[in-house]
Amino acid sequence: MSLSSQPALMISPHRVSAMVLRYLYLLRSSWSRVLELIYWPAVQLLVWGFLQFYIAQNSGFFARAGGVFIGAVMMWDILFRGQLGFSISFLEEMWSRNLANLMISPLRPIEFVMALMVMSIVRLAIGMVPVSLIAIAFFGFNVYGLGLALAAFFMNLMLTSWSVGLVVSGLVMRNGMGAESLAWTMMFLIMPVICVYYPVSVLPGWLQWLAWALPPTYVFEGMRALILEQQFRADLMIAAFALNAAYFAVAVAVFLALLRSARRIGSLLQSGE
C-alpha cells in the first residue's frame, strides 16, 4: 500500500469530502434525523403564516405587507438552522466519542470546519426546500421570487450562522458536553436585537447601536425594504458582508484558540462533561 505525502499547509478537498461523506452516511442511516430537519421549520412556518393571514384580515398595513412575517420566519430559519446544522454535525463527533480519532488523523482543523460548513448547507437545504414549497402552496409566498436579493440574504445569514457555529463548537470542544446547550440557545441571545419581525426603529436608541453591529439586522431590514417598498438595499448588504467577513475571521481565530486551549487542558480525549 502506498500513502500520498502532503505538504503541511495544503488543504485537502479529499479529506473535506471524507468528512462530508461521513455526515451523509449518518443522515442516510437515520430517517428521524432527516425528518427533524423538516419538521420544526415547517411547523414554525405554518403557525406564523396563518397568524399573518389572521392579522392581515384585520389590519390594512398587514394586508399590504403580505409576506413580511413569512419571509422573516424563513430568513430566521436560514440563520438559526444554518448554525444548528454546523453545530450538530460537530456534536455528532462528541456524542459518538469520535473526536480524538479525527484529531489524531491528518484532518486539519480548517478542513474540519469546511466540512461542517458544507453540511450546514446540506442540512439547511433538506429542511428549507420543502418549507419553501409549503410557503408557496399555503400562503402564496415565493421566496425564490426575491431573485438575486435572496442570494445576498442567504450568503450573509450563512456567514453569521457559521461564525456562531464556530464559537459554539469551540466552546463545546474545550469545555465538554456541559456546554452542549449553547448550540440551541446562542442564536436566541441575539434574536431580540437583530429585529427579525420588527424594524430597528422600534428599539431604544442605545440598543439600535448594538443592532447595527450585528450583520443579520441588515438582512432583515433589507428584506422588509424589498417586500414593503420593492427596493433592494445594496448598501445594507455590503455593510452586512463587511461585518460578516470580520466576525467570521474572528470566529475562526476563536475556534483555533479554543482548540489550542483544549490541547492544553486535555479535553480532546474526553467527550463527557
Partner: protein
C-alpha cells in the same frame, strides 16, 4: 530522519493539569520496530503520555517527538504515518464498519482503499459484519474494527491504550496475535499502555513502569524479572506499585 534515530523520543516531558502533575519529567526513546509496554496503575500518567505523543495534549514542558516531528507543533508532518487505538475512543455507531473504514481511509489518503478494506476484513475476520452498523457489534467485534481503523494506513508508529481491556481471554489472545503479526510484517514501532502483565510479557521487548507521573523502571522483561527476583511481571508491578521496588531489587542482589 536518519535511519538510527528513534521512532519516538520523549525528553523531560511534563504535564500539569491545574495543580496535578500527571506526567513529571519523563524521558525515553523507542527504537524503530520495537514494541514497548507502558505499565502503571490508574493515574500513573500512561494515557497522558500517549496523548502527548499523539499531539492530543500539549506538554507543559519538555518535548515529544515522533519520527523526528515535534508534537503537536509539527504533527501534520507525521500524522498520516501514525495511528491509535483505545477502548475509550469510539467510532460513529450508526455508520457501518465498511463506511467507517472508508471515511478513515480517505482521511489518511489510503491508495486503493477498497482493496485495503478487503484485506483488513480478511486479516481481522470482519467479513460477516462489514455492512452492519458499528454500534450493534459485540465488544470483541468492536475491538477488531477499532484495530482495523488503527491499521487502515499501515502506520509506522502505532499507539495502543489498553487494546484488550474488557475482552474475553480468547478474543484478547486473538488481538495479540494480530498485533504480533503486524509488527513482524511491517516493522512498525508499537507503544502499548496496558494493565495486563501477561500481554506485556508476550508482546513487548521493553517495559517502562510509571508511577505518579514518573518512570520507576525501564528495561527488558527478562532483566526486570531478574533484577526484582520475580517470576512474573505482575509481581514486579506489585512491588513497584506498593513501594517495595527498592527492597525487592536489593533482596534479589
Amino acid at each position: 530522519m536518519a535511519a538510527r534515530d528513534p521512532a519516538i523520543a520523549v525528553q523531560d516531558l511534563v504535564k500539569i493539569y491545574k495543580t496535578t502533575r500527571a506526567v513529571d519529567g519523563i524521558s525515553f526513546a523507542l527504537e524503530p520496530g520495537s514494541v514497548t509496554g507502558l505499565l502503571g496503575g490508574n493515574g500513573a500518567g500512561k494515557t497522558t503520555t500517549i496523548a502527548m505523543i499523539l499531539g492530543l495534549v500539549m506538554p507543559t514542558s519538555g518535548s515529544a517527538r515522533v519520527l523526528g516531528a515535534e508534537m503537536p507543533r509539527q504533527r501534520n508532518r507525521v500524522l498520516f504515518r501514525m495511528n491509535f487505538e483505545s477502548p475509550y475512543v469510539d467510532m460513529p455507531h450508526r455508520l457501518t464498519v465498511r463506511q467507517n473504514l472508508a471515511v478513515f481511509g480517505r482521511l489518511y489518503a489510503v491508495a486503493d482503499l477498497s482493496a485495503r478494506i478487503a484485506q483488513l476484513a480478511s486479516e481481522l475476520d470482519l467479513g460477516e459484519f462489514l455492512d452492519r452498523p458499528t454500534g450493534k457489534l459485540s465488544a470483541g467485534q468492536k475491538t477488531r474494527v477499532a484495530l482495523a481503523k488503527a491499521l487502515i494506513n499501515s502506520p509506522d508508529v502505532l499507539l495502543l491504550d489498553e487494546p484488550t481491556a474488557s475482552l474475553d481471554p480468547d478474543t484478547a489472545d486473538w488481538v495479540r496475535t494480530r498485533l504480533e503479526r503486524y509488527r513482524a510484517e511491517r516493522g512498525a514501532t508499537v507503544l502499548l499502555a496496558s494493565h495486563n502483565m501477561a500481554e506485556v510479557e508476550r508482546l513487548c521487548d521493553r517495559v517502562i513502569i510509571m508511577k505518579r507521573g514518573r518512570i520507576e523502571d525501564d528495561d527488558t522483561p527478562a532483566h526486570l524479572l531478574a533484577r526484582y527476583g520475580r517470576e512474573t511481571l505482575e509481581e514486579v508491578f506489585l512491588d513497584v506499585a506498593r513501594g517495595r521496588g527498592e527492597a525487592a531489587r536489593e533482596a534479589a542482589q
